[in-house]
Amino acid sequence: MWSSFFSWATDMTDRCSTDQFKQFFYEYFMESGVCGEVLCISALIALVFTLVFYFGIGNFSFTLSKRITWIVFLVISSVTIYFVSDYYIIGTDGGAIENSTGLYKSSYTTETNLISPPGKPSKKGDEAKKIRRKAQAYRDSFKQDSVSLPHDMALINSLYGLGLFFVFSLGAKRFSKHAKFIPF
């Protein structure tokens, strides 16, 4: 469900259905819940920036309580969401499931599941090697930055962050002293 927030503007659907690594893509981007998590991250960051602006600056600094400051917060919030989302989606490769995060961790899980499907006999020999090579190729494609999907998702997420910051602003502004009419 959450993936639909991103699939409309990215090649996520294609990646999950026709790509050579479709199993890896599908399990991470469609099944793992990463889409919902990055949306939560977006909301959390937007909320923090909103609260800092309205409860901090908006109550304690007349000088900084201006539309331009709000715009700066909006932009910084959005940029922050972009980088945090991008980092969260991609994660880090620790060489094993327990040491990895993000899509790397997911790729190791998928790799394990492909080699040892639950309720079925494990694949061995060349078949297993082939799966391991494919998984490594999948991971390498991100390390070489040849797949833009995480960046695209982070970008879309930062745009959602803009909207969330705006919505949160409408709710929070009434509690501020100097910024009751910011953004309007």
Binding site: F62, K66, S176, K177, H178, K180, F181, I182
Partner: protein, 509 residues
């Protein structure tokens, strides 16, 4: 507490005191709430007197502001809350149109270029044998010089008043009893109301008008006769420059400031004569106000539009006498002389007594702080303000400034400086006198807005405690106050400004 205060402002000095009182009342005085009617009645035979014009402009603008802000409401804590009412508006709804509508002035006596001899009917006496002795007596009593002579009396043209001749003014003022305006006043003034009379003793109009008006009230046989009467008797507080306008058809040199003290003494002496009917006995409270030191020598003008004297601290003190008189319980036979210990060049608030500080300066300081902030910051005459900030948006100042009450207040304050009677001019005029009264600064930043209490920021590199009168501190406080505003009307805006001024004034050390 009486609900009506009638103020008879007589002559140019009376008008100037009334202007000062209007400015002080704008600050919103305690016990002068909007259910109290103040009825100013300016009496000056000089129909074009510049001082009278300035007082009436100030009153009219005040009246407009008050009605815009407080129509049909009872305000007890606002700027401009005192209800100044023209005499014609008293009594019946819609006013009495037999009395000059909406006028602050009580015009009486001869209109146009009428000489005193004609006013007395000297022409007709010549043709009536039986009146010849009277004519002769009058010619013996009065100077018969030509109207261009400084000593002219019978030939004096009354169109610009009495030119410092109370012996003529007394005769003319005797006729005030028959005017419909005075009758209307007597009908509206009850025994619980108060009447205050202001005039100078060293000129012509005030010295002659005060006793005649007081007598006319006391001997009216109406309820008004029992009203409490107070008077501010203005003793000399300015000099005149030599007459450099001789030959202009108006200034004959009839007024000699060297005679001011002698005329004052004569007036004071006459007020003490007459036994139980003596002026000093029929007036409940008399305030003697003058200035013995550092007189400003004003431009010589015998009247008309040229008589437009700068405001003086003595007039301010007389305005405070009105407040004192109205707020005190009736004490018959009281005489007050205004005294001040220190006579340094510039008088400050600190030299006034605690009662004046409480009754006058507390609201006035708040008003000045608020209006300086309004002028400098809100109206952006000195610094610009963020239009997105809370108070600016809440009161929709982008659209409302320059309109309605805001525009009227601008005019009253002199934000655009298009008039010479405004509030800021009034403060500036008092500060420019030789014996200056400079309690406030009206230019520059607001750190020294109250001259006695200069403020400064306690900050290092912009960090630390800003002064209460720092623009940013004021803006911040205004936003806080706006949070409690009941609505976004102009009335609420000026109420918020009053709160701002009061809070800041209370915080000044």
């Amino acid at each position: 507490m009486a609900k009506k205060l009638f103020i008879f402002a007589i002559g140019g000095t009376g008008a100037r005191v009334l202007r000062s009182f209007t400015m002080v009342a704008a600050a919103g005085l305690e016990k002068f709430e909007s259910d109290t009617s103040v009825i100013p009645i300016i009496i000056d035979h000089d129909r074009q007197c510049g001082d009278k014009d300035r007082a009436t402009y100030a009153l009219t603008q005040y009246y407009t502001i008050h009605n815009s802000m407080y129509s049909n409401t009872n305000e007890r804590n606002g700027f401009f809350m005192t209800n100044f009412t023209p005499l014609s508006h008293l009594g019946v709804k819609g006013g009495n149109h037999a009395v000059k509508k909406d006028s602050w002035c009580l015009d009486f006596g001869p209109d146009g270029n009428v000489k005193y001899s004609k006013y007395l009917g000297l022409d007709s006496m010549e043709s009536i044998e039986a009146l010849k002795p009277t004519e002769g007596l009058l010619k013996a009593l009065y100077d018969t010089s030509d109207s261009n002579e400084p000593t002219a009396e019978l030939e004096l043209n009354l169109n610009v008043g009495f030119k410092g001749k109370p012996n003529i003014g007394t005769v003319v003022f005797h006729d005030i009893k028959g005017t419909k305006e005075f009758d209307w006043f007597l009908g509206q003034c009850g025994p619980d109301d108060k009447v205050f009379v202001i005039g100078s003793l060293f000129g012509g109009t005030g010295a002659s008008g005060i006793p005649e008006i007081v007598k006319a009230i006391r001997k009216s046989g109406k309820p008004a006769a029992d009203a409490e009467i107070g008077a501010a008797l203005m003793l000399p507080y300015f000099d005149l420059q030599p007459n450099d306008k001789a030959g202009d058809g108006l200034n004959t040199g009839a007024i000699d400031y060297a005679t001011f003290n002698a005329k004052t003494k004569a007036a004071l002496e006459s007020y003490g004569q007459g036994g139980v009917d003596a002026m000093n006995r029929v007036i409940d409270s008399i305030y003697y106000i003058g200035d013995e030191e550092k007189h400003t020598a004003l431009d010589y003008n015998e009247g008309s539009s040229g008589q437009k004297n700068d405001a003086h601290v003595a007039e301010f003190v007389a305005a405070t006498a009105i407040v004192d008189f109205f707020t005190q319980e009736r004490v018959t036979g009281s005489a007050y002389e205004f005294g001040i210990g220190d006579t340094t060049d510039k008088l400050r608030i600190g030299q006034f007594d605690n009662l004046s500080k409480q009754l006058i300066f507390k609201p006035l300081n708040s008003f000045v702080i608020a209006m300086r902030y309004y002028n400098d910051v809100v109206r952006e005459k000195r610094v610009s303000v963020n239009h997105a900030t809370t108070f600016y948006q809440h009161f929709d100042l982008t659209n409302n400034l320059n309109k309605g009450v805001y525009s009227q207040v601008d005019d009253f304050l002199g934000v655009a400086s298009t008039n010479d009677w405004n509030f800021f001019s009034w403060i500036d005029e008092m500060a420019r006198q030789v014996h200056a009264f400079a309690p406030y600064t009206i230019t520059g930043d607001l750190y020294k807005v109250i001259a006695d209490k200069p403020q400064k920021d306690r900050t290092i590199m912009g960090v630390g405690k800003k002064a209460a009168t720092n623009d940013t501190s004021l803006n911040s406080r205004m936003n806080t106050i706006t949070g409690t505003a009941v609505d976004n009307s102009a009335r609420s805006f000026f109420y918020a400004l009053r709160q701002l001024g009061t809070q800041v004034n209370n915080n000044l050390r």
